[in-house]
């Protein structure tokens, strides 16, 4: 039996409300498939599963908020029968109760009772039609107060409950904004409390990158045009190869290097707020691929439709405030990441190279890094490498 747990949805999100099951018990699921939609304070997130199997039991009803790490469903491993899974389940403690100490008392089986017995004891009269309808609407009949004879749950009760769940699942924009502010506040407070930040900045001449990009974009239709932001992301990803101690996580008192370069891109939401979902394997993507990934991500952030893997695994964050016109940004690291790279606006200014004075477009790149994981000299090395990479745009 496979336990499917609610994955981490980013440093600033510790719980999610189940909005929808995308598969039914008995459905086969494939690694990478979206199986549920969970509402966080920031967005509705599509939760993927990372193992093949068959959906067995869905343990969390629609509309219920549960902490990250809660077992929300069990699946049959390939070849496993429901009988084997049921045996295993009886032998093990109730999965939800085990990982969710704060669960309401009613959901925790009484000591000595098997989970199955507890469920049986609480079973209420429900007509088969109402039970079937509840399954179709994805509501938990056991949680519905029945209005029929002997407290039986009627079809009407099921529909009312489904409507209530639906209303609860769509928080008003103002509520969502307030929740998002709270979540950002918690993550950023934790960051400033726990992470000893150090900050470095470097002015990078961008005339080569700007000229090269103008030449490339002149050849492209507007639908295939590349933004400077994509070049900057790629340059960051490649520069990290020489300073891997900036790409990863600080966990349990030690640095864990990441295996891939998944850059969290700080994307603002028009109504306010900020989400930093990841673009995966940025170092391995071509610029056109990266540009498509970036456009797609911005569009999905603004439409509020993200995947759990994008929320949970950025290995470093890049923030670009150049469009707002600031010269430089010194960001706050998203725990458990250990670095954040910032870009300010590109501006033409006096510049000298090889003893010649001329004007050139310049950008200030900055690094906020966790001093527990790296030292300033390594951070400086990273910024020097970033500058170098941006002088060879054709290699990006």
């Amino acid at each position: 039996m496979i336990e499917f747990k609610l994955p981490s949805l980013g440093a600033d999100m510790d719980q999610g409300k189940l909005v929808e099951w995308k598969v039914k018990p008995g459905d086969a699921v494939k690694r990478g498939q979206v199986v549920a939609v969970v509402d966080t304070s920031k967005a509705a997130v599509e939760v993927e599963i990372w193992q093949d199997g068959t959906m067995f039991e869905q343990l969390v009803p629609i509309g219920e908020a549960v902490p990250v790490g809660t077992v929300i469903a069990t699946l049959l491993a390939p070849g496993e029968t429901p009988e084997q899974a049921a045996l295993q389940k009886r032998a093990a403690p109730a999965p939800r109760a085990a990982s969710k100490p704060a669960a309401p008392a009613a959901a925790v089986p009484v000591a000595g009772e098997t989970p199955a017995a507890a469920t049986l004891a609480q079973r209420k009269p429900v007509s088969p039609a109402a039970r079937k309808h509840a399954r179709e609407l994805n509501v938990d009949v056991e949680k519905i107060a029945g209005t029929g004879p002997h407290g039986a749950v009627t079809i009407e009760d099921v529909e009312k409950a489904a409507a209530a769940v639906h209303a609860a699942a769509a928080p008003a924009a103002a509520d969502r904004y307030a929740e998002m502010r709270k979540a950002i506040a918690a993550a950023m407070s934790r960051s400033k409390r726990e992470i000893p930040h150090y900050y470095l900045s470097e002015t990078i001449p961008m005339q080569r990158a700007a000229e090269w990009l103008a030449g490339e974009n002149a050849k492209r239709s507007v639908t295939e045009r590349i933004l400077m932001g994509a070049l900057q992301l790629k340059a960051v990803a490649l520069a990290l190869a020489k300073t891997p101690e900036l790409n990863g996580f600080w966990k349990n008192g030690a640095f864990e290097p990441a295996t891939g370069v998944h850059i969290g891109v700080a994307i603002s939401i028009r109504q306010g707020g900020l989400i930093p979902p990841a673009i995966h394997d940025v170092d391995k993507k071509s610029l056109p691929e990266l540009m498509r990934a970036l456009s797609d991500l911005v569009a999905r952030v603004r439409a509020g439709s993200l995947r759990s893997s994008e929320m949970s695994d950025p290995t470093i964050t890049v923030t670009n405030l150049g469009d707002t016109g600031v010269e430089a940004v010194f960001g706050v690291i998203y725990p458990p990441q250990v670095a954040l790279v910032g870009f300010g606006r590109m501006e033409t200014r006096p510049w000298s190279e090889d003893g010649k004075l001329f004007t050139a477009p310049l950008v200030t790149a900055s690094l906020s890094a966790d001093h527990r994981a790296s030292n300033g000299i390594r951070g400086a090395r990273f910024l020097a490498e970033l500058r170098e990479r941006l002088q060879h745009p054709e290699e990006l």
């Binding site: 103008a214 974009n217 002149a218 239709s221 507007v222 639908t223 045009r225 933004l227 400077m228 932001g229 603002s268 028009r270 109504q271 970036l294 456009s295 911005v298 469009d323 707002t324």
Partner: protein, 85 residues
Amino acid sequence: MNESEIRTRVVGVIKSVAPELEEGELKADRPLRDQIDLDSMDWLNVLVALHEKLHVDIPEADYGKLVTLNDLVGYLREKLAQRAT
């Protein structure tokens, strides 16, 4: 397509990218980016949407000419007129 039709299309596209924009709030002779929060990705999305609706491809070199709503409408009218002849 006459000027007022082009203007309606352009305003529609800008509203699709910046839904918070109130009709009538936009001053046609003032820089767009002073009035609406448009980052470089939003601007690109405006151009891509105009490309889809009007089939006009605006080269990057012309971005500098397109500061106000009037600039954009005038530029598109000219391009569409060139194509018609």
